[in-house]
Symmetry: C2
């Protein structure tokens, strides 16, 4: 029997993978599982997008341009302009979800053995693709106590070697909900220029910034035209995760040219998804505002509720729809499995993502969980009660 | 300015990339360009697929299962059974086109530095992904004079080293249209078993086998359950290249488990495409038969026409919808550029894919072109006249 590749073995599993069969078992026992583990919103996709699909006027579902439908890219130029991001059609490459955008960025910017610095906790799948491509992630821990702010820039300096080729940020942040300030972004700007690094910026939650905080795009940092590669996706913006449409945006023509070769090798991004994404850009202000208000309300219910549970703490996320909450437990991997497998309250339980999966440094995040507020307020309240009741009886509670 | 990665630079361009601007120029001059270069059929997508999209009954376009919609995989089990291929639902992973299937296969089966043997000429994009992943392709030339049959198995033996981890075939073959015989497949079977190799088999043209030739799937070779990884796609089968739905199929559970980690890292294959692909499996026998007859007719017109042009030779392809034709030219890269840029006949010209792009060995394929018979018979006849007239006056004609 031929052996699996080393990278096939080393590829990390999703942080919640082990929990899936336990959740399935719970459901089979008739228990209602509140899914706070996933980034799949229950918000409706814009009607204009669904209608565009239903009114499909094609009889051949052919390849689109490898960089994406021209019409869609032209509309994206106007979309970015609304956020004062000035990019041209040829600086935008439509990808199969945000995942493919960071895959292309990894392929084009980094060689096997290169190092990239990422503030942790970070979106677990970055690590999967980096492993697949032989790129070494050097994490710098952002701390719960500091609201997951950018770690001191001296910490970045300390990690930079001749192998360091880039810094990767997610802003607003999944999993922490943190939003980088202008001052923090300027610190990153300086270090990137000083060491001639790439700055990869995942900004898929751009629209979800609360409490008058403003999002600043890495593309608007001065003098970084050759350094910044933006990762984008319509998945969360329009609640259409399944259509797999994202984008890689850069003013560095060499990056776009190299990415184009990868794009051509995989032929084209999904046609039907692009039709839906293109129509979504016409979603009404009302749609956008309603979705925004909904998440804001959910955030408030969740964070207030979490902080009322004895021993539980959550910062107030400034953006996205996640929080990394601290629980009074020794091992949140065990707690998340236990609550699903051995606990229920009024026939309900909760699925959460254990914090450890979002840290690259070992032993970190053991008392944290990522909670996505993608359920309606009523369900969130019920889930909070379940968490509270569970912690009252959990045998692994911190002493 | 940070530098592009070595793999970004080394990534080969598509064989026709250089020709695209020349074709665009021709069109701007008002010249009608017959596209014989691409695998984008003009055949209609099955109406059941279009209707499934138009009748979409969802208001959230959410992620599907990372391995693909369960309903679709269950129907695929029945589809494969029609070809006497016995696979289970969990041995099928739905992918974003065939491209993602061979990407996952490359990631899971091969390490950087590993070698795979591929009979050339081969589908140019294999080479792109192999480069991206640090896998070295060792080509073995299959010869025009032998109808592009499998090269002698001794040639494979000679190339096998401790680094050799797999053999990759495409059957029926793009670009040659060759279909491997039972005898040839059994030779491959023996060498794969002897050296404990993976056998990757791209069988996306399964349905297109002509003249009573029968397709034998690598999955039906005895004793190779742990060795065979099948690459599949609905793109050409149902003329729906743009939906990006393919599959990786293997009875090797370790391969599927490793591929699942990659599948989870990119979250899910395209939902809308899967809905179309799932419905396509219900396309009528009449649809399948009509499409088949259409390609058969086109093949006959093309091959007969090519062989009537002085100095031009084409084998009769047994499957798929391509032929590698020999032209009386010194350099088909030059000829393909010249016919687009400097020649026209009655305001028409032809775009073809130069042969060299399908060979990994240098200097081969210089008098060959790949022609896709994806135009209707009338247009094919007109394109043949253009080629004939062009060769009469082409200054680089072989002496």
């Amino acid at each position: 029997m031929p052996s699996i590749s080393k990278r096939g073995i080393d590829m990390p599993s999703s942080p919640i993978r082990k929990l899936v069969p336990i959740a399935d078992d719970a459901k089979e026992r008739g228990i209602n599982v509140y899914h706070l583990n996933i980034g799949q919103p229950d918000i409706l996709t814009p009607k204009v997008a669904i209608d565009a699909i239903k009114n499909l006027d094609r009889d051949i579902l052919e390849y689109s341009h490898s960089a994406g439908l021209i019409e869609y890219r032209e509309k994206l130029v106007k979309y970015y302009a609304k956020f004062d991001i000035d990019v041209k059609k040829d600086e935008i490459m439509v990808t199969t979800g945000g995942s493919e955008a960071f895959m292309f960025a990894f392929f084009c910017c980094f060689n096997p053995g290169d190092e990239i610095i990422i503030p942790e906790p970070f979106y677990a799948n970055y690590s999967g693709f980096a492993t697949a491509m032989g790129i070494n992630i050097k994490p710098i821990t952002s701390k719960f106590e500091e609201g997951f702010a950018l770690p001191p820039i001296e910490e970045f300096e300390k990690l930079i070697t001749s192998k360091t080729k880039g810094i990767f940020i997610c802003n607003p942040n999944n999993p922490t909900g943190y939003l980088y300030s202008e001052e923090e972004l300027n610190q990153l700007r300086e270090i990137v220029l000083k060491h001639d690094l790439y700055l990869l910026s995942d900004e898929v939650y751009r629209e979800f910034c609360y409490d008058d905080y403003t999002h600043i795009s890495a593309l608007n940092l001065e003098g970084l035209d050759d350094n910044v590669v933006l990762i984008d996706s319509v998945s969360k913006r329009y609640s259409e995760c399944g259509i797999r449409v994202g984008a890689l945006v850069s003013r560095n023509k060499q990056v776009i040219d190299a990415a184009m070769k990868y794009a051509q090798a995989r032929l084209s991004p999904p046609l039907l998804g692009q039709i839906a994404a293109c129509a979504s850009l016409d979603a009404s202000e009302e749609y956008t505002q309603t979705v925004y208000n909904e998440y804001l309300g959910r955030r408030n219910v969740l964070v207030e509720g979490l902080n009322k549970i004895p021993g539980v703490k959550s910062m107030v996320p400034k953006g996205a729809f996640y929080t990394m909450a601290k629980l009074p437990v020794e091992d949140s991997d065990h707690f998340c499995a236990w609550i699903l497998g051995e606990f229920s309250y009024e026939n309900q339980t909760v699925m959460m993502a254990p914090g450890s999966g979002f840290y690259s440094s070992r032993y970190l995040g053991k008392d944290e969980v990522r909670i996505a507020y993608v359920l309606n307020e009523e369900d969130l309240k019920k889930a909070l009660i379940v968490i509270e009741k569970a912690l009252e009886v959990y045998p692994g509670r911190k002493q």
